[in-house]
Symmetry: C2
């Protein structure tokens, strides 16, 4: 087993060495641009760690599948940013702002096809199984994004629907990336499934933690504006539970907050309601529940304890973020 | 060999029987909607005829690949219609008009993934080759659409660039559909390539004929408004050649026509210039050239003459449209 940072370096090199045509520029420049913004690239790493877990001896051959997952993720960012009218991504202009919506639609489409080109570069015998997992994952990400947009206009959202949404929108991609690595390393279906469950549940726990950190995180560690979700009335796990618990009087206070223009007042009032109804601890418990499901799935996979170190470390790094 | 109409019926049945989830409705209703608008469905037919050419004995197994091509085509229509701001498609509201741009972006994405799901349903041994052809085709369609949009803002376009654009935007899909059928029927690479060339060149000839028919077609047979391309200043093969041939005086007349508001004057003045510079016959010759390339490729394929009847008929039906 190589170290995690070796894999990360291999991924970075592969992305930098990827050749995209120069013509037509409006199709391929945005692809080079977004891939160059270099996020954490955790998804392609998961493909490699999924193979590494089974002591796969041809790690170099996992690179195309890793790139496929990273390309898919960036395709979804380009299109989601149009839909969400987001001006910034990773601190830089989004593709539709820097070019145009049409350019963002079409270059996103091309990047999705490029992801499938990477699938086609994998070992031929593995392609049918990889394609199946990749398609299911891709479709669930689309479903999750649609549900997320639907929630914006709904009065109340149930916890189960929220979990179902974040599962589809962000977590199946983590599970699917790991499963693709397992497929490449010849893991059997039960092993693949456990690894998928590990990724999905870890993803849900991470997303719930993100909701909590938005309110209670240390600004220095969190890297985003604290209270951002509150200011844009986002239906987070905290907000969803608050809405179910508030009495009539506090419900009216909450409703009026939509029109509150003073940021500090809006954040502080909301936080007081969160404290009054104990929603932080409900959210923490839910997060712990999914993190535990994830760890249990990982522990159940029948490979040596030593092999699990990298994924265990990664999970702990993702979950233990200073509050 | 079954008749062409039997294959068309099988395709229609397969599309009608295709199961899409109901939830989320905004993701899957638009997919059901556009597939239900039922165009000519010539592309999936080409997959089946491509297999039939080689006397394939398991035609039922070509249906998923045929659906993949039809889904891809409809995905590209949904996204192109957003970019072109088109209000109507097949006489009905476009997806982005009936729902919204966001719905059209995301349901288009999902339909593209559904196309790949159909590829994944093909015979596993054939999937790597099918995927490769499908990806190349899909990427070229994106390139063609971008070039087409780029042309709109360019002063002049060279004939070779125009041919290259229509080749990518519309013709490789026809060639690729046929090639996928050939792959399923175990044709060798040379046979696949000839069939691909047949489809691509036929597609180019058909598109050039479409440019000619827009101006010289019999309205009763053509089914579109005659002169529509002239009215929206579209860079057709006629217009491209005219711009290269006009003298300074006529160039000024042509330039001023952009601002001509009377439709009949605009059409008649343009047609007079077309006649003066003989661009119709240049376009006809070019069309005939590509049609001949197509027929030659078909004739060169080493299968019995009887096997070629269906594709020859199809080509002749596409090319001989009453003027």
């Amino acid at each position: 087993m190589l170290t995690q940072s070796t894999y990360s370096t291999q991924i970075t090199n592969a992305i930098e060495q990827a050749q995209f045509p120069t013509d037509p520029p409006k199709l391929y420049d945005p692809i080079r641009y977004i891939l160059g913004l270099s996020g954490k690239r955790i998804r392609p790493l998961l493909v490699m760690l999924g193979a590494d877990l089974f002591a796969f001896d041809d790690m170099e051959s996992t690179i195309p599948a890793a790139l496929a997952v990273e390309y898919f993720h960036n395709f979804s960012l380009i299109h989601d940013d149009i839909m969400d009218e987001a001006p910034l991504r990773r601190g830089a202009q989004t593709v539709h702002k820097k070019w145009s919506e049409n350019v963002a639609i079409l270059s996103g489409d091309a990047l999705l096809v490029k992801a499938y080109e990477e699938i086609a570069r994998c070992a031929p015998a593995k392609i049918p199984a990889l394609l199946k997992v990749f398609n299911r994952m891709a479709l669930e990400v689309c479903e999750g994004q649609q549900k997320d947009m639907d929630f914006e206009t709904e009065d109340s959202v149930a916890e189960a629907d929220y979990i179902s949404m974040i599962r589809a929108k962000t977590s199946v991609l983590l599970g699917g990336a790991l499963q693709m690595g397992a497929i490449l390393a010849n893991a059997n279906e039960q092993e693949q499934d456990l690894l998928f469950q590990f990724g999905v549940n870890l993803g849900i726990a991470f997303q719930l933690q993100d909701d909590i950190l938005d309110v209670y995180g240390n600004p220095e560690n969190f890297g985003k504006q604290v209270g951002g979700d509150i200011l844009c009335d986002k239906k987070t796990i905290l907000r969803i539970h608050l809405q179910q618990l508030v009495d009539v009087q506090d419900a009216a206070v909450l409703d009026n907050l939509v029109n509150e223009l003073d940021a500090e007042t809006k954040i502080e009032t909301t936080k007081k309601l969160y404290a009054k109804y104990g929603v932080r601890s409900i959210a923490e418990q839910l997060k712990d529940h999914y993190a535990e499901l994830a760890y249990n799935a990982l522990e159940t996979i029948p490979v040596g304890d030593q092999q699990k170190m990298a994924l265990r470390d990664l999970a702990q790094n993702l979950m233990v973020r200073t509050y």
